[in-house]
């Protein structure tokens, strides 16, 4: 096995893991974590592909991953805003019921 393959398979593994958990886990925060894990997998794949061979790595995929990380941060932010809103509402409903 080469380093490239190691990184690629690891990336694929983490991606599959994350996506499966995103689909199966019901707790909102943990789902969000799973989503972030999955995106880490894809990024690993891209960066491994950028660094094939001996020369300087291709800057384009690195820039793409950088973009991807920032996008995921924004997604995480808005997801947490929503998740906390949802749970607050659930709490309020519970309080009303009690």
């Amino acid at each position: 096995m080469t380093t490239l393959q190691l990184f690629m398979y690891a990336g694929a593994f983490i991606l599959v893991l994350g996506v499966a958990a995103t689909l199966l886990v019901r707790d909102l925060i943990r789902r969000l974590i799973a989503l972030n894990v999955a995106s880490g997998g894809v990024m690993l794949l891209l960066l491994a592909l950028a660094d094939r061979g001996d020369g300087e790595p291709d800057p384009v995929p690195q820039a793409l991953v950088l973009t991807g990380i920032v996008v995921m941060a924004a997604v995480t932010g808005i997801a947490i805003v929503l998740a906390r809103r949802v749970e607050q509402l659930d709490d309020d409903l519970e309080e009303v019921e009690q």
């Binding site: 080469t2 380093t3 490239l4 190691l6 990184f7 690629m8 398979y9 690891a10 694929a12 593994f13 983490i14 599959v16 893991l17 994350g18 499966a20 199966l24 707790d27 925060i29 943990r30 969000l32 974590i33 799973a34 972030n36 894990v37 880490g40 990024m43 690993l44 960066l47 491994a48 592909l49 950028a50 094939r52 061979g53 790595p57 291709d58 800057p59 384009v60 690195q62 820039a63 991953v65 950088l66 973009t67 990380i69 920032v70 996008v71 995921m72 941060a73 924004a74 997604v75 995480t76 932010g77 808005i78 947490i80 805003v81 929503l82 998740a83 906390r84 809103r85 749970e87 607050q88």
Partner: protein
């Protein structure tokens, strides 16, 4: 940078990959939020290590700043909430679902691995084209050249993602963000020491970005973290909410679009930079973007917590009225 090779693969690489995989499993498998969140933070740290191993220091800085910093803060801040009790699933059903999920996952992974195994180990022959073009970009660091010159449209759009996430989050926060009124002595010290240090770090990353790893994203993420800490430590002007903060957030995006228009006027092509002023333009736009990203990330954090803050404040206000019940 081979450390100790073992059948073509560096042992340290193997260890880091294994650790990344394990933390990934932990992050998704631990049922309690606290454990899962921490596992995820460690996952981020290890990923940053891995990025270092694939010769991507820029990405490593960004991962550390965003994954460990702002996103970490967002996740950890959500932890204080009581984790809602999961409706009691039938245990056998849960096992069955997990088993089916694992089986499907295994099949997917196998398929994916088959596809990946067909990729050649030859580096992409188009990559060097980008490296060659760096000379004509106005900056010497290739990634900055890609982000702010060759593919600056992507960057512009990505800034838009952050900006509009902040706009959306601000719209969803219920109240005005409240200042932390009594930060305590330790936090005051932190505010005095850490915050300026982080701002300085952000500035360094920003300037360094033109010639070595670093740049607006990393600087922005660090600045965002600095703003969050400042807020939590009771620094008043860091209360990133309301119109003024939004103005800062959209200013970077608008300036970028304006730059695109200037490129059109000057060279006949959107977003094109003339080599004579490309460096100045890139540095100027990066500065604005740093502020934009930093404030936007801080807004996201504050918006996420605003409801709970408000609820806590309400409770505090209600408590005396209840007559100090035990």
């Amino acid at each position: 940078m081979t450390v100790i090779a073992f059948s073509d693969v560096d042992v340290l690489d193997m260890l880091v990959v294994a650790a990344v995989a394990v933390t990934a499993i932990l992050a998704i498998a631990i049922p309690r939020r606290v454990g899962a969140t921490i596992a995820f933070l460690v996952f981020g740290l290890l990923l940053a290590l891995l990025w270092a191993r694939v010769a991507a220091p820029d990405v490593a800085i960004a991962e550390a700043a965003l994954g460990g910093g702002v996103a970490g803060a967002l996740l950890v801040d959500a932890l204080h909430r009581r984790q809602p009790a999961q409706p009691n699933r039938d245990r056998r059903r849960a096992v069955a679902i997990t088993a089916v999920g694992a089986a499907l996952g295994a099949v997917t992974f196998a398929a994916l691995a088959t596809v990946l195994s067909r990729l050649t180990a030859e580096p992409a022959d188009l990559g060097p084209l980008a490296l060659e073009a760096v000379e004509r970009s106005g900056v010497s660091h290739p990634i900055t050249a890609v982000l702010l010159n060759f593919r600056n449209l992507d960057t512009l759009l990505e800034i838009a993602v952050v900006v509009f996430a902040a706009v959306g989050a601000a719209a969803l926060s219920r109240d005005r963000i409240r200042t932390v009124t009594d930060p305590g002595p330790v936090r005051r010290v932190i505010a005095v020491i850490i915050v300026p240090a982080l701002v300085l770090l952000a500035a360094w990353l920003l300037v360094a970005g033109t010639s070595e790893p670093g740049g607006a994203f990393q600087a922005g993420a660090v600045l965002g973290a600095a703003l969050i800490i400042a807020h939590l430590c009771g620094v008043r002007p860091a209360r990133a909410a309301g119109g003024r903060a939004l103005v800062l957030v959209v200013a970077g995006l608008l300036a970028f679009i304006l730059l695109g228009g200037i490129g059109l006027a000057a060279t006949g092509t959107w977003l094109a930079l003339d080599l004579s002023w490309a460096f100045a333009a890139i540095l100027a736009i990066e500065t604005l973007l740093t502020v934009s990203i930093g404030v936007a990330l801080a807004m996201l954090f504050l918006a996420a917590g605003s409801r709970d803050d408000a609820a806590a404040a309400d409770r505090a206000a209600d408590a005396p009225a209840l007559g100090g019940a035990p």
